[in-house]
Each structure stands twice: as structure tokens, then as C-alpha cells.
Amino acid sequence: MVSKEEPGEPAPPARAPRSDRSPWNWLLIVPVVVPLLTFLYNGDSPRLGGIPAFYWMQMLFIPFGVACTVIVYRMTRKRG
């Protein structure tokens, strides 16, 4: 493997080292945990348009998961 830090190479521009760390990442845990808590939605009522809660609530978790992921993406996007 050839090292990239050879002596003749120009020094990298001075800026903070890259990182994927961000407190916003913790938000990703919410859409992972919530759909696994079966007791939250394992019921028939209230029905929505005839569909039991078990089904429409899990379908509702989809846009919820998307929202959380989009927030994390936008808040951690690199500038420049």
C-alpha cells in the first residue's frame, strides 16, 4: 500500500478533520425502536376506513421513519 502522505505532497487545506459524528444521529434510533414495540399497535381499534389499527399504524410508521431519516440527513449535511 502506498502512503498518501509523501513528503513532496502539498499540505491538505487547513480545516477540521472529517467526521460522521453528530448528536442528530441519535434520532435514527427512534424509527428503529418504535416499529418493534408490538404492544403499541397490536389492536383492532380504532379502525381507519375499516382497516384495523395494527395495519394502519404500522403503515403510518413508514412516513414517520422517513421524516426522522430526512431530518438526520439534512442536519448532518456537509457544507461546502
Binding site: 389492536g43 426522522c68 440527513y73
Partner: protein, 536 residues
């Protein structure tokens, strides 16, 4: 009889051939100078943007088999079959941060397969071989299941026998050979367009004909009340709730360990494409949820699965539902959607399996100095062998066998999680301990699966993936997903093994990656290219 289904067969065939033509033309799409290297043939030039990646990964993960098997499961067992929805919700936030690291390190080092990464990270060709073989073994039955999906559609049109499947796969093999990953990427557009069209029409049109959603669920409830299986019903019960959550989580952790899903990820052009896709891919889950509900519509419509030679094929319930509900021409479109839905994943899976063989077996053990062209040639040929093998699985063995194998496949691919998944986050594990953990997890998983019977199908072994807790001595009816139990065994052995190996001062492999490699993006220098310029 097939003669009753002429309109459907004609529309199905025309759309199928049209798409096959696109597969051949795809070689010229976003044309590269040459398709004679794996970056171009196997990864489409690593240049796909957000849209193409969305269609490609989506087309890859939501397969024809999903479209027939998930509603079939809901038809048979009710709520327990709906696990596919939480599974595909949980997966994207779960892998969001990990996949961008995999993309970066693969971009810098030119990795094509997950085993390439393991090889460099842990400096162990043996561990890489183990990961590669696990990937190939888990993928093969998955490809065979795509054929089961096409077969279900053909049966609903009254077409029995194996010739249509063989022809379909010969065409598929030919254009994958020629165009590589570009073929499924291009076809995925058509597939999704058709699937979305069919599903939107289905969920608006069929419930209206059946008297509304309320009636559909009530007739499903009535069916499950009448059955003597304690596990079914339109809601979960005390015994299968925990299994439902574990199956969803376990399947989610397994999904991006499958080599074919990683192929889709590595083919994208930068990190942002992956991040955006992790947010956008759940759109497919919405479709999947609606497709799952087709199982209840089939109950309400009184669908009986197609029987051939006295054996009812549960996988035919959605095709039969479409056949009963839709006018012939639209049923033809719907069948084509499922049939084409089989081609995209089958192509990507065979490419991924071929790449594993080429990079981690051929190059590692047979030809260390393989040129890029030799690699591409081997991969192309192996992709043909893989597809022939999948067809043979269906023709020579009971298709049920493929379904059992796929069940096992999910459990065994999970055993690569410590090396591939945790390896992306930490270099703490010792290579020897990872191999030991893998072996322990495999043994535990297979031993548990072997003990699970399926009385409905008259099987004593490999009857499902839900292991009763009472067998561990607990006084409960609850069941657990075998994959996660095996993974726990795997991780414990890997952790204890690492501590032991370090204490015994056993030699560990060298990590060829650096922390910065995991954060690299599109325009960062690649070690692969530096090496090449250095050697010429």
C-alpha cells in the same frame, strides 16, 4: 386451461420481451469505454445517482418472491405475515451510518464485495473466504425463489411445465452477461412503473368490489377464527409478538449483509446518494404493505390456490386474485409486473454471487495476478453458472426445498454481521475469534432450525424460523427468531475469543484500512488508482 388466458399470456409475453430487449440495449447506456472490468460490468461504473440507485436497490430488495410470498403468508397466517412492513421500516435508519462507511472504504480501496472489505480489514483470506462462501450459499436459493415467483404467475395463467422458465432464464442470462449491472438498473424503471400502477389500481379497485376494507378484515377474522391453528389471526397473540419483532429486526440486520444489496450500494456515485436513498427507499415499504393486504383480499374473494397434481401452491393466491378480479388485459399487465419483478433481483444476485467467486475465491486461490479483464470474464461466466444452478434447483428439486433454503439463508447471512457490520465500526475483534464466532453461530442456527417442525406441511425439520422458548426450559408459549439466537451465540464467541486470543498473544491480521478511508467521498484520491499509476 391455458387457452382461457390467451389475452393475459400475450400481454405478459410482449412486456417480458420488450424488457428483455432493454436488457441488451443497456450495455450502451451510460456507455463506458469497456465492460471488461468489474467496476464497469459488476458495478455499472460506480456512477449511479440518486434516482437510478433508488430503482436499483428497490428493485433488488423488493423481489417477485416478496410480491407473491408475503401476501401468501398473510393469507395463511394473518398478522404474523405482516412482519415484512416493520422489517423494511427499521432497516434504513439502522444501516444509515454504516453503509456510508462501507461505501467510502470500498471507494478508496476498490472493493467489489463485502468479503473484499473483510480481507483488507482483518488481513485474513480465510475469514474472507468464509464470508464469500456464506454469501454465495445464501444468495443461490434466493435466485431460485425468483423463479418460484415467475412460476406462480405462469400457473395462474394455466401454463404448467418448465420450458417457459428455462426460456426466461436463458434470456436473462444472455443480457446480464452482455450488459452487467446496467441491465437490471435500466429494467428496474419499467418494473417499478408497472408494480406501482398495478398496486394502486388493486387497492382502489378490489376492495370496492369486495364491499370495502371493513368487510375484508372481517372475513379474514372469520377464517382464522374457524381454523384450529393457535398462531393465526388478524392480530398478533401472546406467543408470536416477540417473534414478530425479532424477525423484523433480524431480517433488517440481514438485508444489507446480502451481497446483492451491497452491490447496489457500491454502484452509487457518492455518499449523499446513499443517504438520500436511505430516506427515500421506504416508499417501497408502503407498496409492500399494500401488497401484503392482498392476502386478506384473497380471503374475502374466496380465492383458492392453484393445485397441480394434487398439490396446492400457496404462492399462487395473488396471481389468482388478479385473474379473478381484473379484466384479462390488466391481469396480463399485473402478471408481467411480477414476472419482470423477478428479473431485476435475479440479475443483481447472480452478479453479486459471481463477483464473490471471482474476487474472493478465483483471485485469492487460483490466479493471484488476475488482470481486470480476466476478472470480468470469470465473473461473466460464473454469473451464467449461478443462474443455471438456480434453474436446476427448481427443476430437479422440490421448490419447497428452495423456500427452506432461503429460510436457512437468512439465518446464515446474519452470521457475517460481526465481521462485515461490526467490522465497519470497530477493529477490536481478532480474526480467529471472528471465524470461531461464525462457526458457532452457523452450528447453533442450523441445529435450532433442524429442530423446528411444521405440522401443517407434515415436516419434521426446517419447518420455520420461530423457536419455542419452552424448549429452553421456560414456561411460556413465546417463540424467538432463530437468526437472532444464533447471532447472539456468534457475538459471544467472537467477544470471548478475542479476549482469549489477545491474552494468548495470537498473531492478528494487519488492517489495511485507515480511519480516514471510512469518511472519504466522491473526489477523494483512491488507493487503487495511486497503486496503478505507481506501477505503470
Amino acid at each position: 386451461m391455458a387457452s382461457d388466458h390467451i389475452t393475459e399470456i400475450v400481454i405478459f409475453s410482449v412486456l417480458f420481451l420488450l424488457v428483455s430487449g432493454m436488457g441488451f440495449v443497456a450495455a450502451r447506456w451510460r456507455k463506458a469505454e469497456t465492460l471488461d472490468n468489474l467496476d464497469e460490468w459488476g458495478l455499472g461504473g460506480r456512477s449511479f445517482g440518486s434516482w437510478i440507485t433508488w430503482f436499483l436497490i428497490g428493485g433488488d430488495l423488493y423481489t417477485a418472491y416478496t410480491f407473491v410470498a408475503v401476501p401468501a403468508l398473510v393469507f395463511g397466517a394473518g398478522a404474523a405475515g405482516f412482519f415484512a412492513v416493520p422489517y423494511t421500516i427499521v432497516v434504513y435508519p439502522l444501516v444509515f451510518l454504516v453503509l456510508i462507511r462501507l461505501w467510502s472504504v470500498s471507494h478508496v480501496h476498490g472493493f467489489v464485495t463485502p468479503a473484499d472489505f473483510v480481507r483488507a480489514r482483518f488481513g485474513s483470506p480465510t475469514l474472507a473466504l468464509v464470508i464469500a462462501i456464506t454469501g454465495i450459499v445464501a444468495t443461490m436459493p434466493y435466485i431460485a425463489l425468483q423463479l418460484v415467483g415467475i412460476e406462480a404467475v405462469l400457473k395462474a395463467m394455466g401454463v404448467h411445465g418448465h420450458w417457459p422458465i428455462i426460456i426466461a432464464f436463458v434470456i436473462l442470462a444472455a443480457y446480464t452477461y452482455q450488459s452487467g449491472l446496467r441491465a437490471p438498473a435500466l429494467i428496474a424503471f419499467v418494473k417499478d412503473l408497472l408494480i406501482y400502477l398495478v398496486i394502486i389500481v388493486a387497492v382502489l379497485y378490489i376492495p370496492a368490489k369486495l364491499g370495502g376494507w371493513g368487510d375484508i378484515f372481517d372475513s379474514a377474522q372469520a377464517k382464522f377464527d374457524a381454523s384450529d391453528d393457535p398462531g393465526d389471526g388478524i392480530l398478533l397473540n401472546g406467543s408470536n409478538q416477540l417473534n414478530y419483532a425479532m424477525l423484523a429486526l433480524g431480517s433488517a440486520m440481514a438485508l444489507f449483509l446480502y451481497p446483492h444489496s451491497i452491490t447496489g450500494v457500491l454502484a452509487s456515485k457518492n455518499r449523499n446518494v446513499i443517504k438520500r436513498n436511505m430516506a427515500a427507499l421506504p416508499a417501497y415499504s408502503l407498496v409492500l404493505g399494500l401488497i401484503a393486504l392482498l392476502g386478506y383480499m384473497a380471503i374475502a374473494a374466496g380465492v383458492t390456490p392453484v393445485s397441480h397434481n394434487g398439490e396446492a401452491d400457496g404462492n399462487t393466491i395473488v396471481p389468482v386474485l388478479f385473474d379473478q378480479m381484473f379484466p384479462d388485459w390488466f391481469a396480463g399487465v399485473a402478471f408481467a409486473a411480477i414476472g419482470i419483478g423477478a428479473l431485476v433481483p435475479a440479475a443483481i444476485m447472480s452478479i453479486a454471487a459471481a463477483n464473490l467467486f471471482t474476487r474472493n475465491i478465483y483471485r485469492e486461490y487460483f490466479n493471484r495476478d488476475a488482470t481486470e479483464k480476466q476478472e470480468a470474464t470469470v465473473s461473466k461466466l460464473v454469473s451464467l453458472v449461478v443462474k443455471a444452478g438456480a434453474v436446476a434447483c427448481i427443476l430437479l428439486l422440490d421448490p419447497q426445498f428452495s423456500i427452506d433454503l432461503q429460510l436457512i439463508g437468512g439465518v446464515i447471512i446474519l452470521q457475517t454481521l460481526p465481521a462485515v457490520g461490526l467490522g465497519l465500526v470497530t477493529r477490536w475483534f481478532h480474526r480467529g475469534a471472528l471465524i470461531a464466532g461464525w462457526a458457532a453461530g452457523m452450528l447453533a442456527g442450523l441445529a435450532l432450525l433442524y429442530q423446528i417442525p411444521n405440522p401443517d406441511k407434515g415436516k419434521e425439520h426446517f419447518g420455520g424460523s420461530a423457536y419455542p422458548l419452552s424448549d429452553f426450559g421456560f414456561d411460556t408459549k413465546m417463540t424467538l427468531y432463530v437468526g437472532i439466537i444464533a447471532l447472539v451465540v456468534n457475538v459471544i464467541v467472537a467477544v470471548v475469543g478475542t479476549v482469549v486470543c489477545r491474552a494468548a498473544n495470537l498473531e492478528d491480521g494487519r488492517d489495511a484500512t485507515r480511519e480516514a478511508d471510512y469518511l472519504a467521498d466522491e473526489n477523494d484520491p483512491k488507493i487503487k488508482e495511486i497503486e496503478m499509476t505507481a506501477s505503470t
